[in-house]
């Protein structure tokens, strides 16, 4: 009977721990699939993928299981990256401080390893580099990733939904390349 209980409890703990450990990866893989599916053009969603950057259209979020609890006030863009291709350089527009804006960089396990908001930036553009190389130096800010793959997420608040078109143009000045 003792062995029976040990097998039962041991298996339950093992399975629970395994699922908790791989849970974030399960969701990230769902996000990968949703992003891949969004490469098929849908006229009501507009041009979402541009040069490796995914511009989320709020009207096309509701049917995506990986889009959990999105903030309706935010315009988001995502940059999935794979540092096997080199360090990632990102350049993007920054709005005035009366409007919340931020960049977060997430490892594959979803932990954020870098964040910055517009009140910390002087100027109308922000450029930074993501690398795994701890010895890398640069004259622009560097975010040191601990996993090769990850995601950059930008948040830009709409004070009113009528601002969508102008802010959509604003965020689309973003550029990224591997160096």
């Amino acid at each position: 009977m003792g062995n029976w209980i040990i097998k039962f409890i041991g298996t339950a703990i093992l399975i629970h721990g395994l699922l908790i450990w791989i849970g974030p990866e399960i969701v990230m893989r769902k996000l990968d699939r949703d992003l891949e599916a969004a490469k098929i053009f849908e006229s009501e969603c507009g041009e979402r993928w541009v040069d490796g950057i995914f511009y989320i259209n709020p009207s096309c979020l509701s049917n995506k299981q990986s889009a959990r609890k999105p903030n309706p006030d935010f315009l988001y863009f995502l940059i999935p990256y794979d540092l096997s291709n080199g360090d990632l350089f990102v350049s993007t527009s920054v709005p005035p401080n009366d409007r919340y804006w931020s960049i977060h960089a997430h490892n594959r396990n979803t932990d954020a390893f870098y964040r910055i908001t517009n009140t910390e930036i002087n100027g109308e553009r922000f450029e930074f580099l993501i690398t795994k190389n701890k010895n890398k130096t640069s004259d622009i800010p560097i975010a040191y990733a601990t996993s090769k793959k990850g995601v950059i997420l930008n948040r830009l608040v709409m004070k009113d939904f009528s601002e969508y078109e102008s802010l959509d143009i604003f965020r689309r000045s973003t550029f990224r390349e591997y160096r």
Partner: protein, 198 residues
């Protein structure tokens, strides 16, 4: 064969079942996950200051991945989540509620409701109230009505739950940093059931 099954396979199969079942509550907002994951509680509101950070516990990392993938981190934001009214009763799409409170000191704050499947409720434009569009009354408080019948509350700030059972998230972006030092200073909302509608 039966002996092998009962002695070896059955406890393993039951272990797999219980292991999977005990994982499930950490994939959506419910009283079990909200009480087990830890975090900071203020009345019915729960927040996690180490969300999306390297030192968060694996249950929180998993929970956040499932309910709100890629969350902001401290000191960028404080998320507060509630699934019940001031009487401890689950928020229901059958009822109207009034949400009142003092606005937090921050760059931007909002209340947004979601269904139990962690998805937004459509039309999503009507599920949000925020610092830009909410009027503050003479007593310094916002007053937001949660209802499926906005026409009953002409001139009021409305969130339309569309008869969906829901949870509510308060987002405080660019919060006063003192909130992290003194959790009791975070101004949370009060949620009172108004009346059954219909």
């Amino acid at each position: 064969m039966n002996k092998v099954f009962y002695r070896s396979l059955l406890p393993i199969l039951l272990g797999i079942l219980i292991g999977g079942a005990s994982f499930y509550p950490f994939t959506y907002t419910n009283p079990i996950s909200m009480s087990l994951i830890g975090g900071i509680k203020r009345n019915q509101w729960v927040t996690h200051f180490d969300l999306a950070m390297k030192n968060q516990n694996p249950w929180l990392r998993n929970y956040i991945a499932f309910i709100g993938l890629l969350g902001s981190i401290r000191p960028e934001v404080i998320y507060l989540e509630a699934m019940s009214d001031d009487d401890g009763v689950k928020l229901s799409g059958e009822n109207d509620y009034v949400l009142r409170g003092i606005p937090p000191k921050s760059r931007y704050w909002s209340f947004v409701i979601y269904n139990y499947e962690n998805s937004r409720i459509d039309p999503f434009e009507e599920t949000v109230a925020n610092s830009f569009r909410s009027t503050i009354k003479d007593n310094g408080e916002y007053e937001i009505i949660l209802t499926a019948n906005p026409e009953k509350y002409f001139g009021k700030q409305i969130i339309n739950h569309g008869n969906n059972n829901f949870t509510i998230i308060m987002r405080i972006y660019g919060p006063d940093l003192n909130y992290y030092e003194d959790k009791n200073s975070i101004p949370i909302g009060r949620i009172k059931k108004v009346s059954p509608h219909g």
